[in-house]
Amino acid sequence: MRSRPGATMFVAAVVCIVAGIAVAVGALDEIVVQLKWVHQAQFAGFYVALERGYYAEENISVTLVEGGAGIDAMQQVISGVAEFGVAAPEKLIWASNFGSPVLAIATVFRLNPTVFISLQSSGIKRPSDLAGRSAAVLGVDEFETQLRAMFNRLGLDIDQAELVPHTYDLTGFYVGEVDSIAVYSTGGLIRSRQAGHELNLIWPDDYGVHLYSDTIITTDTLIDENPGLVTRFLRATLRGWRDAIEDPEAAVAITLNYARESDDELQLAMMYASLPLVHTGRDQIGWMRAEIWESMHEMLLAQGILDQPADLSSVYTMQFLHEIYGETP
């Protein structure tokens, strides 16, 4: 009789294990995540979560689909090709006025990596210095919006600057074809510095333009019908990002399994550049603040991109971050 509690516990353990396996096998959710751009360190947290089995632990089978020119992550999510996506927050606000059925559930980059660079020799230090100079932003909404927002914020006339089409190739900038060009601190900035150029930087953040970047989005429908899945996906993703921040080298090693540009030095630099944007020293990873959303909203309104105020509650939700972290940022 003495062995009965032990036996009971053993049976219970077996039942639990069997049940656990049954659940794990039976209820594996298959989802597709549409990334914003091609595979690179920018999405390191996703790769880490996948490779280290964090999604599997949450009973999710994840397929990461890279983006690229012509692929709109938000559109992919809306059309149902992907369940989750990585998209620009300002597009979310803009689209909400058209009844877009997607919501941001967290943001990966809490500081926008966008920076306007100019050669030190150009003497351009402030947005006002761009008067009469050329700036390559056209064609990339995110860049143009931020430039306009800065000008707007500083009370400058955007027409004083000469806006020219943006080229992903920086060669023209290096030779002075354009005076200024918008790049990401996690990409173009690194390459330019690697190329040995002395640069002046204009950060939109310094001029009252605060934009999140790479928000994680999903559909209203999924949130309504399967909030558990959303929580599980977000939890695993944030865990992956946390790992990536704490061990950037390992994160880059994993990233290299996906990245097309298997330049590990570049990817590592990109990773290090991303760290303070993901983890700023304020708030938990992925956390969103209402004032930033409001500021983004105002910016879009001020620029006339939004012709009428949007309802921010249909743009983002803190439901899942609260679920994961609690109420404290």
Binding site: P276, L277, G281
Partner: protein
């Protein structure tokens, strides 16, 4: 294991064990003490550092507040009234920088940059870092909080500066008390790291560092560079501190090195502060102590080992010598002595051993003598045994038993052969006394025996006697005994000694010889009778034939019926006589007869013709059953006739014994029947009488020679024996069945073809 090895090992273990236990206990105790001391020290260091950090932050906050309450405030207020554009790197802003901000930094230290932010929009109006001017900080906590009071903002990443920075802010108020600007300073982060390091010498691994709520380093740890806000740290200490705990523990630090660490959470700064020292360093003194103890233990062990070797040698050497001596003595060399002269217990043992060897030497000598005696004794015993065996064998061969009768105690002692002669086993039968012996004597001879014994006793003379005994199985044996009387000094007989011999065989041989002689005489008599008979027969035959012929002639005469009737009578009786004569002739010729197929009926008729007269005389009814179609039997018919006559004679005697006069049961029957037996055809002739029968116990012996139940004057005891021989010779079987008081039945079974050929005649004839 040998003692030589065991003893030093035991000494070694005895020496090492307590040393090891003491070493372990003292090491553990020392380690624990040091651990506690170090933890206490680290905790106080941590408190001290925290105190210093807070004081430092307080100091620079005060510095900033002091600056805010200086003339700066008034000057700035005036400048702002002129409009923001005047401040963009012009002389007005330079005035503020040169007059107030730069001196504050340079004189007091602590700040890297100090800036003045417009309260209205968070724009940096003036800054010691010109690059910052014109930028906005409208949503930063240090700006928003700084509008109200002095505020310390935790370390965060500055995109503009591309590094982690801390902010302290304080409001600038005009004469009316309205806040019109915020004074913000970036404390020199290196200062904090410096404070953390302060007081630690280079030769210690002791270190204090700060970690923020997100597990990231805030100050540079001793063994890392560029860790601040770049590297996360997850150790037991950090996790405990982030959980709000204050304490100390041993764990692996960010390098994976074992450390003792004290940790504490500073809620006001939202920072964890940790002070750690490497265990290797902390435990160095105790390790030294441990090494000392080990060295000491090794010394003690060596000493113990030497002692053990010495002790074992003093013990094992004489012991080995003893062992060698034991082997030598054991091999028989009793002259050997150990030669050990020590006073201790082993010495006693050795001298006891020597004494033992000496004693052994003595006893060995007497033992040898004893052995010789024993050998001689055994040899004589063996001789005796063989003599006894010889005697026994001689007695057995001679059928001669010896005996002794102890008269005084009435006990008899028989030799083995005696028991064999008397047909009993010593265990089976009690012949202890004279009476026991007498019970064996044939009743007819008891008186003779008793008389002989008495005579011998009274005359004290030797005696010789022959008598019969009846064995328990009923067999009668003839014994020849002789003995003599033994007397004591007074001439009183005390015992009788003698020998008895079974002389039955001799007696039988004697009887046989007598019988053969008798037979010979009988044979000669018969032969002469035969010769006489054949002569008479020849003589009788011729006149008999003439008589019969005459009677035939007479019968043919016409004189009258009466004459013919007489003639018939003469012829009939004459023929009978002729038959008798012929049978007599053929019987007397038997030895020369060959075998030939014969009709049993003829044989029986011939037999009856010879015995019929006797049977009739004694009024015996003869019943005869002989079928006509019997097969002929290959035999010597005269011999078979002799058998049949014998059986008829026996039957006649038996019937006469039972019925001396006429009786209607006085019947002798002869039956002949064919018989199939063993796959051959036989003819069985059965002669049965209703006489007294044969007792069952005698049935097996009736075919023995000289066995007879008849009075001596009637039977020779040879009839059935001879008959049995004849039938057996014919490959036939002679068997008997009888019931006492009812009947006796003899069966003569003869093979129709017994396999005899003409050649056998010579062989068997």
């Amino acid at each position: 294991m040998r003692l030589r090895v065991k003893a030093p090992l035991i000494f070694l273990v005895l020496a090492l064990l307590p040393a090891a236990i003491i070493a372990v206990i003292s090491f553990r105790a020392g380690q624990r003490t040091i651990e506690l001391n170090v933890m206490e020290h680290l905790a106080s260091t941590t408190l001290l550092k925290q105190d210093e950090l807070e004081r430092w932050i307080n100091d620079i906050s005060r510095q900033l507040e002091f600056l805010a309450r200086s003339q700066l405030s008034e000057d700035t207020a005036q400048l702002i009234l002129l409009g923001p554009e005047v401040l963009n790197g012009n002389a007005a802003s330079n005035h503020l920088i040169d007059e107030y901000l730069d001196p504050s930094i340079q004189v007091r230290g602590g700040f890297l940059t100090i800036s003045i932010l417009a309260a209205s929009d968070g724009r940096i109006l003036v800054s010691t870092d010109p690059d910052l001017e014109g930028k906005y900080r409208e949503s930063e906590p240090f700006f928003l909080e700084g509008l109200a009071s002095t505020y310390v903002q935790n370390v965060s990443f500055s995109q503009t500066l591309e590094r982690a920075v801390m902010h302290i802010s304080t409001p600038l108020t005009d004469s009316t008390g309205d806040v019109f600007a915020v004074l913000v300073g970036h404390p020199d982060f290196a200062e904090i790291s410096k404070i953390m390091r302060q007081g630690f010498s280079l030769d210690t691994s002791e270190d204090t560092y700060l970690v923020n709520a997100f597990n990231f380093f805030v100050t540079e740890p001793r063994y890392g560079e560029g860790y601040a806000l770049q590297k996360a740290v997850r150790t037991a200490g950090v996790d405990a501190a982030l959980a709000g705990e204050t304490g100390a523990a041993t764990y692996e630090d960010y390098r994976g090195a074992l450390v003792i660490g004290a940790y504490q959470w500073i809620p006001e700064l939202e920072l964890a502060i940790l002070t750690e020292v490497d265990q290797a360093e902390a435990f160095a003194p105790i390790v030294q102590l441990r090494n000392t103890i080990f060295a000491f233990a090794a010394g003690v062990a060596l000493l113990a080992l030497l002692l053990g070797v010495f002790v074992s040698r003093t013990v094992t050497r004489p012991v080995l010598q003893l062992v060698r001596s034991t082997e030598i003595v054991g091999q028989g060399n009793l002259d050997h002595r150990t030669g050990i002269k020590i006073r201790d217990e082993i010495g006693q043992l050795a001298s006891a051993f020597d004494q033992m060897a000496a004693d052994l030497q003595e006893t060995t000598a007497s033992r040898d003598e004893l052995n010789q005696e024993i050998t001689a004794h055994l040899q004589s015993l063996e001789k005796l045994r063989r003599r006894d065996e010889q005697l026994g064998a001689a007695q057995r061969i001679a059928r001669l038993g010896s005996w002794e009768w102890d008269i005084a105690h009435n006990k008899t002692l028989w030799s083995d052969e005696m028991y064999r002669i008397y047909g009993v086993s010593p265990e089976q039968f009690d012949v202890d006394a004279y009476e026991g012996f007498m019970s064996f004597i044939h009743p007819d001879d008891r008186q003779l025996v008793a008389h002989t014994m008495e005579t011998a006793l009274s005359n004290k003379e030797p005696f010789r006697i022959e008598y019969r005994i009846v064995r328990p199985d009923g067999v009668v044996r003839n014994i020849a005994a002789s003995g003599e009387v033994v007397c004591d000094e007074s001439g009183e007989p005390i015992s009788m000694l003698g020998a008895s011999q079974d002389v039955t065989e001799r007696k039988r041989a004697e009887a046989e010889r007598l019988f053969v002689e008798e037979q010979l005489r009988q044979g000669q008599k018969l032969e002469s009778i035969g010769t006489l008979a054949s002569g008479v027969a020849h003589e009788v035959n011729n006149p008999l034939m003439a008589m019969i012929n005459y009677a035939e002639l007479l019968k043919d005469e016409p004189e009258g019926d009466e004459i013919a009737q007489y003639a018939d009578g003469i012829i009939k009786e004459g023929n009978r006589v002729a038959t008798i004569v012929r049978n007599l002739l053929s019987f007397s010729r038997q030895d020369t007869e060959a075998h030939s197929p014969a009709d049993i009926k003829d044989i029986i008729d011939a037999s009856l013709s010879l015995t019929g007269a006797v049977l009739r005389k004694d009024q015996i009814t003869v019943e005869l059953y002989v079928p006509d179609d019997l097969p002929k039997v290959k035999c010597r018919s005269q011999q078979i006739q002799q058998v049949v006559i014998n059986l008829l004679t026996n039957a006649h005697d038996a019937l006469n014994e039972r019925y001396p006069d006429f009786d209607e049961d006085k019947i002798l029957s002869i039956t002949v029947l064919p018989l199939e037996k063993d796959g051959a055809t036989w003819v069985r002739t059965t002669v049965e009488d209703r006489g007294p029968g044969i007792p069952e116990h005698l049935l097996g012996r009736i075919f023995d020679p000289f066995f007879t139940t008849k009075p001596r004057d009637i039977g020779t005891g040879l009839g059935l024996s001879v008959s049995y021989g004849i039938v057996t010779e014919h490959h036939g079987e002679l068997t008997v069945e009888s019931e006492e008081g009812s009947y006796t039945r003899f069966h003569v079974d003869l093979l129709v073809n017994n396999g005899w050929t003409v050649m056998d005649r010579e062989a068997t004839g």
